[in-house]
């Protein structure tokens, strides 16, 4: 494991009486692509702004390369940020925008121009170098904004929902551009987003934040398959969450009695107590569907409510007799075998190992 580049040490941030960040304790590793994800108002942007020096933490230390950054002015930091609004200077051309940071650092004119043009070329927008910002398209502006930050050759690049204003097809393109750049340059990327698809597609590690706290840190796969708690499970979505009471506890499995039936789950390392409440999740893509009763194992009989069709994947929304919602995700060609109509009765089943018990929080 590489050494931490940035350390957030018991960071709190209050705005008056409003607590934006309750307590943050985490590290950013050198060279990683870290995504910070959460619903709006969870404190993810504030976290990023504190790292850039645009907000001062109320309590705690932020260290960059072992240096406490709390009293370092934003313009003395080497933490360029790509803004959600892009924040390009409208009175400058694309090239002048890219040169801005170099100019502030006192780089001479000839070198400034050379480095700016090199980055505009790298981003594939060299031909627009002398154009006014207002004449560029969304995707082109996005590239200028990236070039403007990367031309500083920083150790760490901060990105605040930079793709949220782009069309869907451009988002996919820019995701590829960003991951390629990050691999190639070896720069640490800290990427704030509310979009799960962006975070999971690009990041090495993801931090899920909720109400000013970290809900879970882990690889996208960990977070998707093994959400730490109900908040993460709900936020990540496409999860089936079932709640009940622990009926029977064996060595490494537990029976959980829910209104929808009794289910067997692996206990993993979660401490469960017989008779107490417990919840577990099954990812929507790990649920099987059949027209007849699968007889044994974890199963539930449901009625099809609706379906959502995205590309080759289909998400089915179902409900059992007790009103418990289920989601099932599968390939469209697989689903077409069943020829289901809305309201059809089907059986759902899943392997015990697919279920994941949540920590009660």
């Amino acid at each position: 494991m590489s050494k931490p580049l940035v350390v957030f040490d018991k960071i709190q941030k209050h705005f008056g009486t409003f607590v934006a960040v309750k307590e943050l304790d985490f590290e950013i590793r050198e060279g990683e692509f870290l995504a910070i994800m959460g619903p709006s108002g969870c404190g993810k942007t504030t976290t990023l702004r504190m790292l850039a020096g645009l907000e001062a933490p109320t309590q705690g230390d932020i260290r960059l390369n072992d240096r406490v950054m709390n009293d370092v002015a934003p313009h003395e930091r080497d933490t360029p940020l790509v803004w959600q609004s892009l924040a390009l200077f409208p009175f400058l051309t694309a090239r002048e925008n890219v040169e801005f940071g170099l100019k502030m650092r006192g780089v001479d004119k000839a070198e400034r121009k050379e480095r700016a043009l090199k980055w505009l070329d790298k981003m594939g927008i060299l031909e627009f170098a002398d154009r006014d910002i207002s004449t560029l398209s969304g995707g082109q502006k996005q590239r200028v904004a990236l070039a403007r930050s990367l031309v500083m050759e920083p150790q760490i690049l901060l990105l605040d929902e930079p793709l949220s204003a782009l069309d869907a097809h451009l988002v996919i393109r820019m995701q590829a551009v960003l991951t390629d750049l990050q691999r190639e340059l070896g720069i640490t990327f800290v990427y704030v987003t509310h979009s799960q698809s962006e975070a999971f597609a690009m990041a090495d590690r993801v931090i899920i934040m909720g109400k000013g706290e970290i809900a879970q840190i882990g690889s996208p796969k960990d977070i998707y398959r093994e959400p730490a708690n109900q908040f993460v499970a709900e936020f990540v979505g496409r999860n089936n969450i079932l709640s009940g009471k622990v009926a029977l506890l064996t060595n490494d499995t537990a029976h959980i009695a829910t209104p929808s039936g009794d289910f067997t789950v692996p206990t993993n390392e979660v401490r469960l107590i017989e008779g107490h409440n417990a919840s577990f999740v099954i990812s929507a893509d790990l649920v099987h569907i059949s027209l007849s009763d699968p007889n044994d194992g974890n199963k539930a009989q449901c009625k099809l409510i609706s379906e959502e069709f995205v590309g080759s994947m289909v998400t089915l929304f179902l409900e059992d007799a007790q009103g418990q919602e289920f989601k099932v995700q599968m390939q469209e060609r697989e689903l077409s075998k069943f020829d289901l109509k809305s309201g059809a009765e089907v059986w759902l089943s899943w392997d015990t190992a697919s279920a994941h018990v949540l920590n009660e929080s």
Partner: protein
């Protein structure tokens, strides 16, 4: 008006525009044309008589006293503009970026209040403050300075101009800067620009249009003001408005006053036109 070559003038739209067109014709174009015509009239036995004679123009424009007055007015109105813009900027900056939304609203309200009272009254109140035995000299006297002559000097004129223009300039600058996207300032800070440097690098370029318009207003008001140079400046060196007054009073020379007025209007047109062209000029990269 329309890109469609077939379209006839829209009567409905024209009807609604008529009042403003009439107003412009009767109260602006008409008087200006009359003034231009009048500048060719002659005065005989203190009475204006219709004529077409260039004598007023040659008399005024070949005289040293006209050009002295002209350049003095241009210089002092420019000085007034520079002073007002510089004095207003820190205040407007604080109101736009440091003050809360409600403080800003109150400040703008308070800056409008001076316009409720007559400018003449506000000018007279400066006598009490600036005279040899006035408040300022009394206070300076305590620390062994003065007394200084402030009335009937250029300083007095400038104080008068500030009374007239400063509230307006502060309001215009504040509103302009308050509308700046704060992200752009933070982006500059993020790229290594110190807080002080953002003023030149970001804030002034972004508020260029509003700042130039504030300056144009300030220049126009000062250039045409009669009260400040007359009462506080002592009119030893007459500005153009004072020259107009003098010309009309001495020998009823309305035609020659018209020449001065036309010269003023031409100057203000030129200033306003270049200023606005500058204000709305696009960046060099515009396509």
């Amino acid at each position: 008006m329309s890109s469609n070559p077939d379209s006839r003038p829209n009567l409905y739209a024209l009807t609604w525009r008529l009042p403003i067109i009439f107003w412009q014709l009767i109260f602006f174009v008409g008087p200006v044309l009359f003034m231009v015509a009048m500048s060719f009239f002659l005065v005989k036995n203190y009475r204006m008589t219709e004529a077409f004679d260039f004598v007023n123009w040659t008399r005024m424009l070949t005289r040293g006293f006209f050009w002295d007055s002209y350049w003095y007015t241009v210089v002092i109105a420019t000085a007034s503009t520079v002073c007002a813009m510089c004095i207003a900027f820190p205040a407007a900056f604080a109101l736009a970026f440091r003050a809360s939304e409600s403080t800003r609203r109150w400040a703008i309200f308070l800056l409008i209040i001076p316009f409720f009272t007559s400018y003449l009254v506000r000018t007279f109140s400066w006598f009490v403050i600036l005279s040899e035995s006035g408040v300022v000299n009394a206070m300076l006297g305590y620390i062994g300075l003065g007394p200084y002559t402030m009335l009937n000097t250029n300083f007095g004129t400038l104080v008068g101009y500030m009374t007239l223009t400063l509230p307006l300039v502060v309001i215009l600058q504040t509103v302009t800067m308050a509308n700046i996207d704060k992200n752009l300032i933070e982006a500059a800070r993020n790229l290594g620009c110190s807080a002080f440097r953002t003023i030149w690098q970001v804030i002034i370029p972004l508020s260029k249009t509003g700042l130039i318009i504030a300056a144009i207003f300030c220049f126009i008001l000062s250039f045409g003001d009669f009260v400040a140079p007359f009462y506080l400046g002592g009119s030893q060196e007459p500005t153009l408005p004072i020259l107009i007054l003098d010309t009309t009073k001495s020998g009823q020379q309305w035609p020659r006053a018209a020449v001065v007025a036309i010269m003023m209007m031409v100057t203000l047109f030129a200033i306003a036109f270049t200023g606005i062209a500058l204000a709305y000029r696009k960046g060099k990269g515009a396509k």
